[in-house]
Point group: C2
Chain length 312, copies 2
Amino acid sequence: MAEYRSIRERYGLLEMFKNPELSAEVTLQPVKAFSVDAAIIFADILLPLEGMGAGFEFAQGEGPVIHRPVRTAADANALRVAHPEEDLGYVLKALELVRKELNGEVALIGFAGAPFTLASYMIEGRSSRSFLLTKKMMYEQRRVWDKIMSKLAETITAYLLAQFKAGAQVLQLFDSWVGCLAPTDYREFVLPYSQTILQALRQAGVPSIHFGTATADLLPLMRAAGGDIIGIDWRTGLDVAWSRVGEGAGVQGNLDPVTLFAPWQLLAARAKEILDRAGGRPGHVFNVGHGILPATPVDSVKRLADFVHEHR
Amino acid sequence: MAEYRSIRERYGLLEMFKNPELSAEVTLQPVKAFSVDAAIIFADILLPLEGMGAGFEFAQGEGPVIHRPVRTAADANALRVAHPEEDLGYVLKALELVRKELNGEVALIGFAGAPFTLASYMIEGRSSRSFLLTKKMMYEQRRVWDKIMSKLAETITAYLLAQFKAGAQVLQLFDSWVGCLAPTDYREFVLPYSQTILQALRQAGVPSIHFGTATADLLPLMRAAGGDIIGIDWRTGLDVAWSRVGEGAGVQGNLDPVTLFAPWQLLAARAKEILDRAGGRPGHVFNVGHGILPATPVDSVKRLADFVHEHR
């Protein structure tokens, strides 16, 4: 959006995240431009890494770079459990500001990265294709892995509960890269930690969304870990995904974000297919199946939001 | 393998592919070192791009770079259908040499990249995460897309049939990145082209393997496109994948290649799980679910091959 780019030109990404007024403004931009039912706070899943002592930056053209990758027992021991109010108070403040502005008319979603996805950034030091170092640690250094995952689960639980307290009405756990795992590895090395977080949210009485990509056959396990809504990407038909998730949970998804670049006729057909597969069942949150891409045509997003409201 | 690295130190990758004696030697190295039932020719899926006029190189540290990316109608029109004997004779020669050496004791697998995966390299110009340019062309420039895919299908069909003639006993079609597509997009934009190739192989009487990654819910469509064996990655339990593939086809897979870095006890447990899920049914080819990684411990590969033979 032009409104976003005009701010982005003047500030660094981290600078924007750490400025609650700017974050609130950016969060509200799509709410003002499109007929959406919810806003998601402008933040990044990596923000808690700073308070944990790993440090990171968004390097020009190559995505996030972790300053002190976590690869040994000593590294894992040195990690701190972040304190939401002290380390991430700027996100909480932004949530308060947005919640006030939304005035109860549009729901406010808070979020955090899930332990596996954050651990993968910490261990690899950057984005990865093979997740070699992450999986090697899982397999070879079980105790170090468990220490990292425990500290992450504790950090994320406190952070999400603080977001709830600050005004978030729904909390999303982003396990963006967990789809690189075999189901057996997910069950053994990841599920218990995501479960800790999602159970705490349930006990606090806040609805949760549990999301990942390429998770076709992890869906039953992700549901077992928790989440009132399971987020799915476009790689699985919505009805098929929902049957794997099972009774008692909703689904969020699942348009390929690149389809927003398609001519309207094709985009509308794909959106209609998703609504048809949902079949009017309660518990479907229409959404793209992963983050929206930078050059996405704004007008297509607008038409899509209207189309979904007309055809739901 | 040390034997491989000592050759690789002295030659560039393309130089090795284009030298049939070296390619044959490298192909035979794992056959000599491990108790494997088949050898796969040492080559790269991108080799046909040169004869098609796109050109490429393996850039240090960043993977393949296409010299003349294909993004317009004019680019697509300028593409040639490669001629296997003229443009890829060095692969055919290597197959002849290897087939002779194997002496009928170990099967020889030839292969090619599938149209979608090769088109994605041609259009993006390099590896991609979002496949934005590729999908945009699919959606926005249907005729250009169809022209590229047609020329690729024609090139690949001729190339694979020539490999059969040169001595390959099984042919594998690698659609490595097709798992980035929604099932509906696969059916509409990709299936017909892969089908053309796989039907031609069936008519020629040569067994085929049809492989992709992150294809959990593409498996029934990939089977519809063709392939006597469907290759699957580790993201789906082998029994679940096989039931999606359906009756009448076998499956190849599906160990996570990174599990080869794990301590033996864990690696053996994962291999045993795959064999248990196959349940002794005929038509299971044990393999890793994607390419083996450079630093893989050679001893683990050796133990795994022996383990599978003992426990199958």
